[in-house]
């Protein structure tokens, strides 16, 4: 029996041609009606690719950390290119690391370095959008603004294609909304709809008494009283009969169910309760926003969230030793090396190895994919400010766990860490790999703004790094 022709023309195209117009079919278009078939469809598409990772923890290093001063040292490069930082040997033979990261050096055999990531976007917002969605932005422009014709954040795609969980969000992002001038695109569900936005927490996990604002009730409102209110609400709802005949109303009501479940369940509250961790471990992660955020990410992975995004900083930074991201140009008479030596490197060297070791010791690393990356690397040539500028043409991504090889280096840069010399990959390939490891077919299509059928990933799985 030959394949029917129609099934081959991309199915989304037919939906673009006309908005769906199905009359008389019962149980049709409501919130719930749409969810189930989509899930089934995604599940069907995924048959055969078993999930290796239950959760992805995406540690986004806003500003752009330098490849050549950290995970892709070039001790033999000429002056003006070579890092002024010394290189030390690591647990991974032949793979040096800067001397400012001795603890990281000891756990390098747990990770997989991809040294040939590259693209062409040299502005923070356009490059970050690429890193956070896996799709090249329409323009490499600082003016790229968040809007629903851009692609959704990874976590939103995962949420869209995952079964809803009753008392825990599938995708969580914290502790910042990142912006460079305007809000950096790629942090929301965009055209997938606000119901798939990552569950956003902007309180600082390092603050004493950190808790989830949504889970705290205003003074005088106990859970019992809330439950009583819900009872009264149901009495009023039963009068209008809207729940009986309007799918929209039922959809809204399911969110009440979920909100009350979340308020009553210990799962989410506990996941956010960092005080349940021993002080020594909290100290080891680092008593700063990034350290405690990574600890929170681990707790969410344990609880069952599927995609957790941690933003290192809310801004590109690079000019301060107390806050901000990795954007060390040496502007305003600052200098890159004192700043990263005092701030970014020690902080990272405290948190990242602790985090990886903690995951590993709990047996979580195998089912949790950790991704540590910035939107780009930094120029191989040191600039006039003894600092480095933006460099998207080749940089390093650190991966660990979740089905990727341990103690492995994939791809290579040239002798100045300027361009990929072997196995070049792009953010879209990393996206495909993450989806694949989560058991989601990277070719799955979703419906974009205006009904365009869009594949969730623009690249191919990097099979060379799969364990």
């Amino acid at each position: 029996m030959p394949t029917p022709l129609r099934s081959f023309a991309c199915s989304g195209f037919q939906e673009v041609a006309f908005p769906r117009r199905s009359l008389l079919r019962l149980g049709g278009a409501g919130l719930l009606g749409l969810t189930l078939p989509r899930l089934l469809e995604a599940e069907e598409k995924n048959r055969g690719s078993a999930a290796r990772a239950r959760t992805v923890i995406f540690l986004f290093q806003f500003g752009g950390p330098s490849q050549i001063d950290m995970f892709d040292m070039k001790p033999d490069a000429p002056d003006g290119v070579r890092s002024p930082l010394d290189a030390i040997s690591t647990a991974l033979p032949g793979v040096p690391l800067c001397a400012q990261m001795p603890r990281m050096a000891r756990v390098l055999d747990k990770v997989c370095l991809v040294r040939s990531m590259h693209h062409e976007m040299s502005n923070h917002n356009s490059a970050s959008y690429y890193a956070l969605t896996g799709h090249a932005p329409p323009a490499d422009d600082i003016r790229l603004r968040d809007s629903i014709d851009l692609y959704p954040a990874y976590g939103s795609v995962v949420d869209h294609l995952s079964p809803p969980s009753p008392d825990l969000p599938n995708t969580v992002a914290f502790p910042h909304v990142i912006r460079d001038g305007s809000i950096t695109p790629g942090q929301s569900a965009s055209f997938l709809g606000k119901n798939h936005d990552p569950f956003l927490v902007t309180d600082d996990p390092n603050q004493a008494g950190f808790h989830l604002p949504e889970l705290s009730l205003p003074e005088g409102l106990s859970l019992e009283r809330l439950q009583a209110r819900r009872g009264l609400q149901q009495i009023v709802d039963s009068q209008s009969r809207l729940l009986e005949h309007a799918a929209e109303a039922r959809g809204l009501d399911t969110y009440y169910e979920r909100a009350l479940a979340m308020l009553q369940s210990d799962t989410l509250r506990d996941a956010f309760d960092l005080s349940r961790e021993p002080d020594a471990l909290r100290d080891a992660y680092g008593r700063h926003t990034f350290g405690q955020s990574c600890l929170l990410a681990r707790r969410l992975a344990e609880a069952g969230s599927r995609f957790v995004t941690v933003y290192f900083s809310n801004s590109i930074g690079g000019q301060s030793t107390t806050s901000g991201g990795w954007d060390t140009h040496g502007f305003n008479d600052t200098r890159m090396y004192p700043i990263i030596k005092d701030y970014h490197l020690p902080l990272t060297d405290q948190t990242l190895p602790t985090f990886l070791t903690d995951l590993d010791e709990r047996g979580l690393l195998d089912e949790t994919l950790v991704v540590w990356m910035g939107e780009f690397g930094r120029t191989p040539r040191i600039n006039g400010n003894a600092s480095r500028d933006h460099w998207p043409h080749c940089y390093t991504v650190l991966l660990a766990g979740g089905g990727v090889k341990r103690g492995f280096v994939f791809g290579a840069s040239d002798e100045q860490a300027a361009y990929p010399a072997e196995d070049p990959v792009r953010p879209g390939d990393l996206a495909a790999t993450m989806f694949h490891l989560l058991g989601i077919d990277p070719h799955t299509e979703v419906q974009g703004a205006g009904g365009r059928p869009l594949a969730i990933a623009s690249g191919e799985v990097i099979s060379g790094i799969l364990a």
Partner: protein, 758 residues
């Protein structure tokens, strides 16, 4: 009439080839018509542009998912849906050192080996070895894979019969017939070569044009042959034994159109909504918040049979009407602080609101905006061009907002579902190429943020400014959308545009605006989405749309008159509660489809209901959300907005960057529900000592009266007996009276009846 069969270059050679075309149906998978193979006569080579290109489309080779992809597939790229036969000829015959085509051993052509999966083909089997499509390609290759003669007749129209079809419950199938007409006047039956794309999987169309409707419903089949496409509408009626038409009384012409189609579909309209529901609906739709208890009481006790009309007229005269409807235009015209700055936002918003308040005809409104020039402070409509900084942005927005056309696809390739070509796109873009800015000052806070403008600008028009056509590599002549001749060189392009839109473009403009007004009142455009007008996305009620457009144009583009006409119809007044025959109808307005209130509507409704003023950063306390001119007045960096600002963002107030109704989101989310369940703002509204509860409980009213007042304020109706009993019980057992009423108020504002427009 001359019969042009397209089978060969010379009419004398056509016969045999015609037969092989007829065989196509039998060979393509799923074929359903018996064909009798006949072999006789000489075979003329197939025509590349008519036969070969049609086969590539029919077999799906040139779709976006396959070789029509921007990057092709596996090194083989065809133009999307065959828009560029010349390029495809090169791809087929020259690329890969010509290996795709083997003129000496046609059967060894890579093209055929792949399509028949004789060698591995990721796209699977496209057609069988020896099948008619195979033969068309093979014969064309054998004849030398030649290009066509220069005088090949061009395709001029595609007619499909029937244009629409109602299928009775017993009927499942019927046949389509597609006829192509060529520039030399000849016609050809292309049923076997056309591509059929149904809008709904409940409809199936075989390659031979047989339609099968699997379930009751309404859908469109897009029939495509080469560059042309035609829609066919199919209605599969539900089985309704003993159906007897007994609708509510019709009130005006709107009902004639709506009810006629429902009757034909055997769907009943629901009963009219109660007076209380109608009143609430009208206030929410026209003013953006529900009626106060006094207005409700007065309306409900009014015995005047004309009270519907009276209340609509009253509401339309209120300033809140102009304010609420100004929001809709502000969304589309990108009235936001970053591009316009605060002063510009206020000026443009005030101009829009005043235009609505004063009843400026919609055509003049459009004209003023499109031809605007001058200082963005002194002449507010010039802010439209201030926020649209590039010719492409201006061209796309004007097409979308004023003409209901989405041109975006045509920036990179001919529009796949519409008639717009890349030429149309760039010629139209050239109309807007002369807009220039004199930036008198820019006090932006962030030098790196090129979006931000703080200070006065003057919009002016330079001569010329043609866009560069990326494929032709030459300047595109300024040409109005759909017109055949460019504007004169010396024309003031913006003025020419404004005059055209309200002159010869008057009815299309009226249709788009009438549809948008209908959408705002009925929840769904007759053409849906409202800015996606095209032949392949037909209106659900084309005659009604024409009627509304003529009414709008005939009334001098009077917004209020059209709203009045729609609001007074029985259709607008129908209840949301379905009847058995219409529960599955979502597109024919047989009953009202409940939807969540918009962000501003919801917040203003909460504030009005609980009698607590709101505050928004940068504005005096007491401003309603519906009165906010822009998106966010407070600078993000100088501190967060108020709870009200945050509420609007969470509930989907659009950032106004897209010029489309779709940017406004009414999807419920878990975060929204947390705001409603236990959010700070909700808590403040409920517990404020001076709120409505405070007033009611401070009076000497008993529980029953307080309850009734509260119900009227929140839900515009008194409590039912069952509610009275249940809530009295709650009050009786509660520890404190105030707390118990707060619980009740919470339940009321969290009821679907409050949160939704129904």
């Amino acid at each position: 009439m001359k019969r042009y069969t397209g089978a060969g270059q010379y009419p004398g050679d056509m016969v045999a080839h015609l037969l092989s075309i007829a065989l196509l149906a039998a060979a393509l998978p799923g074929a359903d018509r018996e064909t009798v193979p006949v072999t006789s006569g000489p075979v003329a080579p197939p025509i590349f542009r008519h036969d070969v290109m049609a086969v590539l489309s029919k077999a799906g080779c040139n779709t976006g998912a396959c070789h029509g992809n921007q990057n092709g597939k596996n090194g083989f790229k065809l133009s999307l849906r065959g828009e560029d036969p010349t390029a495809d000829l090169v791809s087929l015959t020259r690329d890969l050192f010509g290996r795709r085509i083997d003129r000496f051993e046609p059967e060894n052509s890579l093209l055929l080996l792949k399509a028949t999966r004789s060698i591995a083909h990721e796209g699977g089997l496209r057609f069988e070895n020896g099948s008619p499509p195979y033969q068309i390609l093979r014969d064309w290759i054998q004849a030398g894979a030649q290009d066509d003669r220069a005088d090949l007749p061009a395709l001029s129209s595609l007619e499909v019969r029937p244009a629409e079809r109602y299928l009775e419950p017993g009927e499942e199938t019927f046949f389509l017939q597609a006829t192509a007409r060529f520039s030399d006047g000849s016609t050809r039956d292309v049923t076997q070569l056309a591509v059929y794309e149904p809008s709904d999987p409940q409809l199936e169309v075989s390659p031979g044009g047989q339609v099968r409707a699997k379930a009751p419903g309404e859908a469109v089949i897009l029939v495509r042959f080469l560059s042309l496409q035609t829609p066919v509408r199919v209605f599969k009626l539900q089985d309704a034994p003993g159906f007897t038409w007994n609708p509510p009384a019709k009130v005006n012409r709107v009902d004639d159109f709506i009810f006629a189609k429902l009757h034909r579909l055997r769907i009943h309209p629901s009963a009219p909504a109660s007076d209380a529901e109608f009143l609430r609906r009208a206030w929410l739709d026209l003013l953006g918040f529900p009626p106060d208890p006094e207005s409700t009481r007065r309306y409900l006790s009014d015995a005047d049979p004309q009270k519907h009309a009276r209340i609509i007229d009253e509401l339309l005269q209120r300033t809140e009407f102009a304010e609420f409807w100004a929001l809709k235009w502000c969304d589309l015209l990108r009235v936001e602080e970053k591009a316009l700055d605060r002063k510009g936002v206020q000026a443009f918003h005030r101009w829009i609101r005043d235009a609505l308040q004063q009843g400026m005809p919609l055509d003049r409104f459009a004209q003023e905006i499109l031809s605007a020039r001058g200082s963005t402070y002194a002449h507010p409509p010039a802010n439209f061009y201030r926020s649209h900084r590039t010719p492409v942005q201006r061209a796309e927005t004007v097409a979308q907002v004023f003409l209901g056309r989405r041109l975006q696809c045509a920036q990179c390739h001919n529009h796949p579902f519409d008639r717009w070509t890349q030429d149309d796109y760039y010629d139209w873009t050239s109309v807007f190429g002369g807009v220039r800015y004199m930036v008198l000052e820019n006090r932006r806070r962030d030098d790196n943020d090129k979006h931000e403008f703080v200070g006065e600008q003057v919009v002016w028009l330079a001569p010329g400014g043609d866009a560069q056509h990326p494929v032709r590599q030459q300047a595109a002549p300024a040409r109005l959308l759909g017109e055949s001749t460019p504007l004169p060189q010396d024309a003031d392009r913006l003025t020419a545009l404004a005059n055209w839109l309200t002159g010869s473009g008057r009815l299309p403009f009226a249709r788009v605006q009438a549809n948008r007004i209908w959408h705002h009142l009925m929840g769904r455009g007759l053409v849906h989405p409202v800015d996606d007008f095209r032949a392949t996305n037909p209106a659900s009620h084309p005659e009604l749309l024409d009627f509304l457009a003529e009414e709008l144009a005939g009334s001098g583009f009077d917004l209020r008159r059209l709203i009045r006409l729609i609001c007074l119809s029985q259709t607008y007044r129908l209840a949301s509660e379905p009847r058995p025959s219409n529960a599955g109808d979502f597109v024919n307005y047989s009953h009202v489809l409940p939807r969540r209130l918009d962000a501003e509507q919801l917040l203003d409704s909460l504030a009005a209901t609980l009698e607590t003023p709101l505050s928004f950063a940068g504005y005096p306390e007491g401003l309603r959300a519906g009165q906010i001119p822009g998106v966010k007045a407070a600078r993000r960096r100088s501190g967060a907005g108020t709870g009200g600002d945050h509420f609007l963002e969470v509930f989907g107030k659009p950032p106004r960057l897209l010029s489309s109704e779709e940017e406004r989101s009414c999807n419920p989310t878990i975060t929204q529900v947390f705001h409603l369940v236990s959010g700070e703002l909700m808590h403040e509204l409920l517990t404020g000592p001076d709120n409505r509860l405070g007033t009611l409980l401070g009076s000497n009213l008993g529980n029953e009266q307080v309850l009734e007042q509260l119900y009227l304020a929140v839900l515009s109706r008194p409590p039912s007996a069952a509610e009275n009993t249940a809530l009295q019980a709650h009050l009786d057992q509660a520890a404190g009276r105030r707390a118990a009423f707060e619980d009740i108020a919470w339940a009321l504002v969290n009821s679907k009846e409050f949160l939704m427009r129904h």
